[in-house]
């Protein structure tokens, strides 16, 4: 354990903590342990990085926040409606802080180990709570710092020193606001729902953050192009419920001297709500701790969830019973395993968004009618790009240790495990995405592209099969630790993505001919059907034949 800079900085406030009756020495010791543990954790925003690196991965990921901070600059520099621009700026800041707070620091707020480890020691509850909040605040300062330092400097040059100080003061309030409101949100969820639901919510926010970051990157590139801030702000009563606007108002009030009822009310809200929230937090902390128990054991009565649809698909797509068992198992794992979802759903989100990103950028140069007659619909192949990545992920599971089951049970044919799993992937993840895209694409490009869409689907199935054959061969699904996800080698994954290109080329070759696309479809269908038979032979297993001899 080393001496942390942040703790040295904290020592400056030692007297303040002591005044509040907090055991500073104990708090510092707790924080040192926590910061050390954090060095061994990988944040969501960086989830592509390899594990087991030295140092605090979080600190090393801060430059990403710095990059995203650049997005704020046009809103600060251009236009002259303070309330409008700064509301947008604070909206973005709050989004980033809130999502990273939930995705990366929930574990801090919700650490149930604290209960067993710390509360059994002779330390006051107040000290433990303070350590928790300070711990989170240290990180929030880092994120905020990385995110706004450059915009802050830009604002100094553009609007002067007063503007910067207002900005700085508000940032402090926003940080407090976000940390405390998130805690209160958890408190609320835990009060009325159970721990499993909370874990689901956190999981979905993590997924949202991962998607948001990539889409944000697209926006960043384009943001200078379409910022048009010649909008005048008009007040409506419901603006009172939108926190970013509270923080836009003080600039209007203090710099533009726009003294109206609403700017005053917003400013008061901006200052008072965080303070009030802290008060609530301090009061509710004990009941929060009590409800945390729910995270440890959750034994409430629950109804059976019906999944007749899965049942139906299992019957339609799988012929052998063993295969159906794996189909249902894989469907459940994909739906319920949070770690799997965290790795896979962002890719799904992107494959849903990317085809449109390209069409939209094209829209700025050409007319809608022009686009709808061309070959632009081929962008739908972007959703096939996700296939290698996700098929690769099917090998892994957070509870991979449970896979002793596959070896201890009399599975007659190992190959049914994967053929069922791949079918579940196609039915549960791939086809729904393709279906949504198809509906919108059919609307844009008219029904003439329907045969092409069928070709895309068959290409997707084909690519799934090729990927499986090349990287998953011979192992059971959901049976390895996620720690090994990087072992496949980037080159191999890239190569497998290129398979999509092969299908696109095939499609392009077929298109110019009369009925060419239909020939292509028949060809693909034959390849997929024969390929599937070859990869997953349905005859009795070799082992069975040998076994009968003994």
């Amino acid at each position: 354990m080393r001496n942390f800079q942040s703790l040295r900085f904290l020592a400056l406030f030692k007297k303040m903590f002591l005044k509040f009756g907090i055991d500073y020495e104990a708090m510092q010791k707790i924080l040192r342990v926590k910061l050390t543990m954090d060095e061994r954790r990988v944040p969501t925003i960086f989830n592509d990085s390899r594990k087991k690196k030295d140092g605090n991965q979080f600190l090393k990921s801060l430059w990403i926040y710095g990059l995203y901070g650049l997005m704020l600059i046009p809103f600060i520099v251009l236009g002259d409606s303070y309330i409008f621009q700064m509301s947008i700026v604070f909206g973005m800041i709050m989004f980033i802080l809130m999502t990273s707070m939930i995705s990366d620091f929930s574990s801090v707020l919700l650490d149930v180990r604290d209960k067993n480890i710390l509360q059994t020691k002779p330390i006051r509850g107040k000290t433990i709570s303070a350590a928790k909040i300070v711990h989170v605040m240290i990180y929030m300062s880092f994120i905020t710092g990385a995110f706004v330092t450059i915009p802050l400097l830009v604002s100094l040059f553009r609007h002067g020193i007063v503007f910067m100080f207002i900005f700085l003061a508000e940032l402090l309030l926003v940080m407090l606001f976000v940390v405390v409101v998130t805690s209160l949100l958890y408190l609320f969820v835990l009060r009325f729902f159970d721990g499993e639901r909370l874990k689901d919510i956190i999981n979905y926010v993590q997924i949202l953050l991962s998607i948001g970051v990539v889409i944000g990157y697209q926006l960043l590139i384009r943001s200078f192009g379409f910022v048009d801030l010649d909008i005048t702000y008009t007040f409506s009563w419901w603006h009172l419920f939108i926190p970013p606007i509270w923080y836009g108002a003080p600039f209007e009030l203090l710099l533009a001297h726009n003294v109206t009822n609403y700017t005053i009310i917003f400013t008061i809200l901006a200052v008072c709500i965080p303070v009030l929230a802290i008060y609530c937090y301090a009061r509710l902390m004990p009941s929060f701790e009590r409800n945390l128990e729910k995270l440890m054991s959750d034994t409430r009565k629950r109804k059976k969830k019906g999944n007749r649809l899965d049942e139906m698909w299992a019957r339609i797509t799988c012929r052998r019973n063993e295969e159906r068992v794996f189909f249902r198992f894989a469907a459940l794992m994909m739906k319920q395993e949070r770690e799997f979802k965290l790795k896979v759903y962002p890719a799904l989100g992107m494959s849903l968004v990317f085809p449109f990103v390209f069409i939209f950028s094209e829209l700025r140069e050409r007319t809608f009618a022009d686009i709808s007659t061309g070959n632009m619909f081929l962008f739908i192949y972007f959703c096939n790009l996700m296939i290698p990545n996700i098929v690769h992920m099917l090998k892994f599971s957070g509870s991979y240790k449970g896979s002793w089951l596959f070896k201890a049970t009399p599975i007659q044919q190992m190959s049914t495990a994967y053929s069922g799993t791949l079918k579940a992937f196609l039915v549960k993840l791939y086809v729904p995405i393709l279906l949504v895209l198809s509906v919108v694409f059919t609307w844009i490009f008219t029904v003439r592209i329907l045969p092409d869409l069928v070709a895309v689907l068959l290409a997707g199935i084909g690519q799934t099969l090729v990927t499986y054959k090349l990287i998953n061969d011979e192992e059971y699904p959901f049976s390895k630790s996620f720690e090994f996800t990087q072992d496949a080698g980037g080159a191999k994954m890239l190569l497998l993505s290129l398979v999509t290109g092969v299908f696109v080329v095939g499609h392009l070759i077929a298109t110019p001919f009369n009925y060419g696309i239909y020939v292509y479809i028949v060809l693909l269908l034959a390849v997929v059907l024969i390929g599937w038979r070859m990869v997953f032979p349905s005859k009795g297993s070799i082992g069975f034949a040998r076994g009968s001899g003994s």
Binding site: L405, F406, P410, G543
Partner: protein, 266 residues
């Protein structure tokens, strides 16, 4: 307990090396129908390895393993159809609900889905877990999860049971229920292979005790026979003697004296 001479499993000269280290060294063992084998030994003696070999989780052993008269190296997994297994550390796909998990395992053993669900629900109720059958295993306590795993090992009515520390995390009442279940199952002709560190329990329920030390069987017989082999009274003491561990008192004394060391005042 009726022990017939029908052979359920036999190990012949089973040897296993793991990373250059010999874990099992020529283990020979024959088990007949209806026996409850207490399989004991110090940590790292090779107990779990033996069980894993018999289940087909490890296949690079040397020697011969026959279960239900079939050489398991043949590659035909159907001998597993009549085997139940409770792993140590309660490892399971715990993002599934109890019912989903139970049905899944039962189906892997070749059971019909509806039948499995019906049976699982009934068994869960018997263990007072009827309310949480549709709750995810990840939120279960150790004891609850252990009960689910015990159910999953019995759902398909196996003839041979491998239990690795099956009572960990269970309360005294549940322990007694499970013990009784095991005794009754054995009386019905089921064979139970039971490994544990809790000597009292092993002493109580096993009708044959096998002691493994450093990959070799050093004692094999009923509790009575083991008592005759050594002068000690309880199984724990016999265990100490046969594993050559006699210094527990010295070690404890030293430990306590360190605990009581005064802090040097600076």
């Amino acid at each position: 307990m009726g022990t017939t001479n029908e052979k359920i499993l036999s190990l012949r000269n089973v040897t296993m090396d793991y990373g250059g280290k010999r874990v099992l060294n020529g283990v020979n063992l024959e088990v007949s129908k209806g026996q409850i084998i207490g399989y004991i030994g110090p940590n790292g003696a090779g107990k779990s390895t033996t069980v894993k070999i018999m289940l087909g989780l490890i296949d690079n052993y040397r020697g011969e393993v026959e279960i239900f008269g079939q050489d398991i190296a043949s590659g035909d997994p159907s001998y597993k159809r009549k085997i139940g297994y409770v792993p140590e550390n309660a490892e399971a796909y715990d993002n599934l609900t109890a019912s989903e998990y139970l049905i899944f395992t039962a189906e892997l053993y070749g059971m019909n889905r509806a039948h499995a669900e019906d049976k699982a629900t009934k068994l869960m109720k018997e263990f007072e877990l009827g309310d949480v059958i549709h709750t995810r295993l990840s939120s279960f306590s150790k004891g609850m999860k252990q009960k689910v795993l015990i159910i999953s090992s019995l759902l398909h009515d196996p003839d041979l049971l491998f239990l690795d520390e099956p009572l960990s995390g269970l309360d005294a009442n549940s322990m007694m229920v499970i013990q009784e279940i095991l005794l009754q199952l054995a009386a019905q002709g089921k064979t139970i292979f039971y490994s544990s560190h809790i000597m009292d329990l092993v002493e109580k329920i096993s009708n044959r005790i096998v002691l493994l030390v450093k990959g070799e069987i050093v004692a094999d017989g009923s509790f009575k026979e083991l008592q005759e082999m050594s002068e000690e009274g309880t199984l724990a003491e016999i265990f100490n003697q046969l594993t050559g561990f006699t210094e527990h008192k010295n070690r404890a004394e030293k430990f306590v004296s360190i605990v009581q060391e005064e802090q040097a005042h600076a």
